[in-house]
Amino acid sequence: MKTIFERVCSQPAGGVFPVSDVPTYETEVSLARTASLRIPNLSEPTVARHYTYLSKLNHGVDDGFYPLGSCTMKYNPKLNEDVVRLPGLTAIHPETPREDAQGALEILYELSGLLKGIAGMEAVSLQPVAGAHGELTGMFLLKRYFELRGETSRRRILLPDSAHGTNPASAAVAGFSVTEVASDETGMVDLDALDAALDDTVAGIMLTVPNTLGIFEERILEVTEKVHAAGGLCYFDGANLNSFLGRARPGDMGADIFHFNLHKTLSTPHGGGGPGAGPIAVSAPLVDYLPVPWIVRDGKSFRLDWDRPESIGSVHSFYGNFLVAARAYAYILQLGDEGLRAVSENAVLNANYLQEHLKTAFELPYDRLCKHEFVLSGAKLPNGVTTLDVAKRLIDYGVHPPTIYFPLIVKDALMIEPTETEGLETLDRFVDVMRTIAEEAASDPSLLLEAPHNAPVRRLDQTRAARQPELTYPLDAEDCS
């Protein structure tokens, strides 16, 4: 596998940029670059073939099933990719005067309104650009809320042990300490443990709804009431919105802050790890603290509003990931209410179908109605076979492995989320593959232990990558020319 630095330098005359049409102006000598600039000069076909080759080493949603739990790897309409390539959307500078960017401001304004409706809450900010960024912004809002109320001793955030992985770090970056709250045997928040943890040092709770076991918190109203009664606020991690879209709203469950992952639920492909967007919706007491600028409407025109004196300030250079927001807007417009409702119906139906068909071949620690995902355990696999081996063997069958070893409350977890866009043919094949793998684990474990066999590389040494990190290509001493 060659890197671009090992390709032969071969750039012909011409190139991307024209010759200059202005005189040359000297750069002050003391400021000029003297450091090396070892970037190869390659021909366009060399570059095209290199990255096309690399792309073929990947598995994306368009290549096949991708049941990566908690990530909602659904198929997204291609239209949404086309609309965000319209020059009228891409070629606008963020500091464009408002009269020249009315279409862009309209998209942001209208999408905010739709997200507000989906959440059933008071106001929305589109500024956070990832789920974890939405969490962080939410924690900033909590901090401001208690600061202005003079309750600065509220420094603790409660986190159920079934919450999302980013939650503890988001709370910590905002200066809160974290107290874990145990789940009971049904996989839901243990109300006694919650009572015991609640006092006047608690700022709030971060709930993942449904939780990372794919279980809906049936006593959600009791949980949020208890937190509110203790003077705290309720943060809802919305990564799992796909499971109740068009059926229920976090605002009706007692949420004070709710973040969307537009790249999970509302149609932006994951891009190999981003960019996404993490807009937040808030309840009435938090509205004034939302980041600036706001997008507001005056009659028929739209503008930015910076005059929000109690705001936490800004969390992004500009207005968040506009082109991600535009995809979400296109997606919601196309689906309408019926389409949104069908998302959660099919997502939950598909997950329950897989859960039912896989629970005999694999251990299912929480055997109950699930939402959009469920968690199997690989703890009791025979012959020394582990969850990791199952994951690697799935690669041989052309399936992207589920999320593994998360959530932590299930030993050797396999977290499976089929999404609504998969049909019965894919689901049945996955069931067959998983059952075959379970049989292989018993009859011929080396097939799993040495997997993958058909991937671009064999099993990689991740310990070495962790212990002796080699993070850059060792460039030759000489510039490439």
Binding site: M1, T3, I4, G15, V16, F17, V22, R33, R38, L54, S55, N58, H59, G60, V61, E81, L86, T90, A91, I92, H93, P94, E95, P97, D100, G103, E106, G165, T166, P168, A172, V173, G175, E218, F244, G271, G272, G273, G274, G313, S314, V315, H316, G320, L323, A326, L333, L335, L349, H357, K371, A391, K392, I395, R459, D461, A465, A466, P469, L471
Partner: protein, 427 residues
Amino acid sequence: MLEAIGLSSLDDLFRDIPEAVRSRFEPLGIPGRSEQEVAGEFAALASANAASTKASLLGGGVYDHYSPSIIGHMLSRTEFYTAYTPYQPEISQGTLSVMFEFQTLIAELTGMEIANASMYDGATSLAEAMLMASRIRRNTKIAVSKSLLPAYRRVLDTYAWAADLELCEVPFDTAGRLDLSGMPEDPAVLIVQSPNAFGVIESLAGVKDQLGDTLLIVSTYPMSLGLIEPPGALGADIVTGEGQSLGLPMGFGGPLLGLFATKKAYLRQMPGRVAGRTVDSEGATGYAMAAQTREQHIRRERATSNICTNSALCALAATVYLATVGADGLRHVARLNHDKAHYLAEKLCELDGYDLAFDAPFFNEFVVRVPGDPEGLRQMLDQAGFLVGGSEDLASLGVPNALRFAVTESRTREELDRVVRLLGGVR
């Protein structure tokens, strides 16, 4: 399928959501639409953005650069854009190889030893660098140059407030450059932007020597590094920046590309994902995520940052951009930016009442004091098809009656001459 799971209706799938919650549900009240109708709606929205038909001289962190065609084509490979974070390296070698190449390119460009695989944008990247420096030094006092872009300063203010850090402003001198005589005593770090909010290239040589144990963070504009000395060669401990100039559209300010580079010694304190080179079970070279014990999914509340999703696809764009233009192309395009901006500055200064606000070297962006109301001039240029701005930012930094001009390779001499004629006619 319902039968297979022992349920009789789709509603049964949601019986675990309390009835009190379900009964309060209200739909949005919008019908579904066909693909064709939505395409039409977006064509109308796009045409309502007159900006896309005008020539942009706007700057302040995002610029109207030319993006080679090949980038769009590579970004449209579904294997790249429909994949996620490479948690399973054996079927993610494409994404991981790109991360590795990107890290190498950014480290080389900035003159640093290592770089991560991207952050959200230039502003949050700088905020994370500030938090990292405070952790390394165990010191909450932060010195920040006053000539930082206000958009970045707002984000720093928010993060600093949340982390209980104290921001101390370091003034600029009459040339628009950092005035080190205004440094506070023993801060954890000095944060500088170069080129800064005025487009001025800071003279960083020797600054690090004066700082003692204080760390130096430089927020930079990567395209300028085709021409000017990178912060890494001038002693920076952390270099951040906005990568939009490397092949990304302006996109009304997002998605952008946060750059983050530092020294090897600080790897364990660095936020964000990194890919590393390793071997497979047969000894062949491959790539995997590395140094993950810093990250939120392992270290939880003790992680170096909460960042998870980053700007991977934007990093792919920057990687393809640099691979396509090469060192020669980068030097050339940086030169075009520099020379065109200097051409416009020279011509504007020949007009009565127009003068550079700062007598210091700049890259492709500069501040001009204008006769009369900058807003009136801005509107006049807008009517004629040219977008300029910056006057509010500049006024907030104590530079009133001024406009900021950013000139990229996208602008032609003919356009620049026209701007000069338009402004020359208004007297």
